[in-house]
Symmetry: C2
Subunit: 359 residues, 2 copies
């Protein structure tokens, strides 16, 4: 593809040079905002497990990483410039960007506001960049330029460091709960209390459900209750598990490690659903009888569309929901990756991008 | 439990004396019809794979077989006597009985007409008999006595031999199609063209869907088209499979043998569902990504409730749908079991119970 020369500017960023490199300070180019573009100064960027998978090329079979790789898709910041055709934003506004920066906009999925299912999405990082060639660069940088259709509004009452993870961990857990009808009076389980799970607990609670957290670590009990759980079940305790057999309307399964899904399927009531938002590497062993008895279903759900992401952010504004974060300077991001692998974070790292100025 | 002496009568039947015995002629007792009972002279009884599992005690872990065992839950016949409180039937009417002859009638499932999910159903065979003690005896017999709440009406235009399998194979395939919204314009797959699958094809076609049959046997193509399929795909042909990727609204999986479910999950469009009506012995290996991309779901479905079974029979009356059957005398039932194991039947055996008179 021949790229016409388009106006660009330089921006500081943190990038990985190869699958085995640490992230390090670098300079990238961004396009100057064109007609429908919004330029955002990035204030906070959440650290998602996907960032780590991508820079280490752990998804090489489905999405091989192009280096240098600049991750980050939980972006909040302030608008610094807008193109002439932009109507929703003006300089000074708070704004956010999630996992997608473009899509084909014409397919039935896009027309339904379900851009996450478009076959031609441009992801925020490591997707072909339609404007500059190469691949897109994510939020571990000073600024980003995105078409306004993919820019979200952030309610002004939210803590910005805690708001950043809403753009991936938030929408990923909010969307399936809405899709499967979580509301007042429903009994909802959340399996795995990490970055995704802790958002699941907050949303299920705010939606009015009776929330039960399943965990392998009894020491997470107090924290689960603080986050909004009504009950905590230690999943290795068979007796405790059996007390809940056939009683759940919906279970959010946020565990990426190999685990016994049948134990949770059996906790669903008739027509209950369990949705995977984590993606274990090995196939799950699913016993047919657990699904047959009770017409239960097992499904998966990836992030959410742009309209629903805005709905989620507005819901967070109304209920004052943000992620529980540990704020770090960008200089500590490699250490944060290591700690992420040990689940040593409550519950999400959020990078204070002001730290990038001093690199 | 002490049983009070209640009026009974003798009836001819075919029973298995042990897990390794052939079925043989015997005499059983049935209760005389009480207030809400309907006594039915059995004219035809379908041969379901469950009959074979039960008499051979292959479900010993979940439903151990009590001997003598008299299977049969695809029953059609003519009413011979009714209790004083019966309002829906009178002697001479056609009538049918499926997999259930009672339930607790008071739980939320029963009140919703979803008796198949009641925790206290009395199955047509091998369930504790509330009236006579011991276990219930199924349809491989001259007559049966059932509470009218569990007796169905048979449209008079249907061939009775072919109508019998509707009571299990029919409702098992009809119910999930209705539940998951199969209707005009939907694209529906049917995996496995046996007793269940061939009914699935007929229903999907009659409901107005575009029907694709998946089979491992290219020689089933012509028959699949005759039954109502619009297309036939040989599932081992990867290229043919890939042409259908992401295009199905619903897939009925009627295969009880171990098989690659992911190949079918990947054929579903966004929000598509695949429902298991067969129950493979080994857990299915389910790849999470197939469910995540497209918010697809995998579920199971067991038979159907009494109101929906009546709806299905009325639908069959309106569309003149019956199972394709090979009619056999009861004396050939052991041979039929052996042929069933080799899938050597198109597509269901139906026992002409008149043959029992000559034993």
């Amino acid at each position: 593809m021949v790229m016409h020369k388009i106006p660009m500017y330089k921006a500081k960023a943190y990038s990985a040079a190869s699958a085995t490199s640490s992230l390090a300070s670098t300079t990238i180019v961004r396009r100057d905002p064109i007609e429908h573009d919004v330029q955002i100064e990035i204030l906070f960027c959440g650290v998602c497990h996907s960032d780590l998978h991508q820079v280490r090329n752990e998804w090489r079979e489905v999405m091989p990483t192009v280096y240098p790789s600049i991750p980050g898709h939980e972006i909040v910041g302030r608008v610094t410039k807008v193109g002439s055709g932009v109507t929703k934003f003006k300089p000074g506004n708070l704004a956010a960007v999630g996992c997608m920066v473009d899509s084909d906009r014409t397919c039935p999925e896009c027309q339904a506001g379900l851009e996450q299912f478009c076959r031609n999405t441009t992801l925020t990082y490591n997707s072909p960049d339609k404007h500059l060639g190469g691949v897109t660069y994510g939020g571990y940088s000073e600024s980003i330029v995105v078409d306004e259709r993919f820019v979200l509004r952030i309610p002004s009452n939210l803590n910005l460091a805690g708001a950043a993870p809403l753009l991936c961990a938030g929408i990923t857990t909010y969307s399936p709960m809405r899709h499967w009808g979580v509301t007042t009076g429903k009994k909802v389980g959340v399996v795995g209390l990490g970055g995704l799970g802790h958002m699941g607990v907050k949303f299920a609670h705010a939606l009015g459900a009776h929330v039960v957290v399943f965990t392998t670590s009894p020491n997470k009990k107090e924290d689960a209750l603080r986050l909004g759980a009504d009950e905590v079940v230690v999943s290795r305790n068979r007796e405790e598990m059996e007390k809940h057999a056939g009683s759940f309307d919906f279970i959010l399964d946020a565990v990426s490690a190999d685990h016994d899904i049948n134990a949770y399927i059996n906790l669903l009531r008739r027509d209950g659903n369990i949705t995977l938002v984590g993606a274990p590497e090995k196939p799950l062993a699913v016993a047919a009888f657990g699904l047959l008895f009770g017409r239960r279903s097992l499904s998966g759900s990836p992030i959410g569309g742009i309209p629903e992401t805005q709905e989620m952010l507005d819901f967070c504004g109304a209920h004052n929901i943000t992620a529980d974060v540990e704020v770090i300077p960008i200089q500590k991001v490699n250490e944060a990756f290591d700690r992420l692998l040990k689940s040593d974070v409550k519950y999400r790292f959020s990078i204070d991008m002001a730290s990038l100025k001093s690199t």
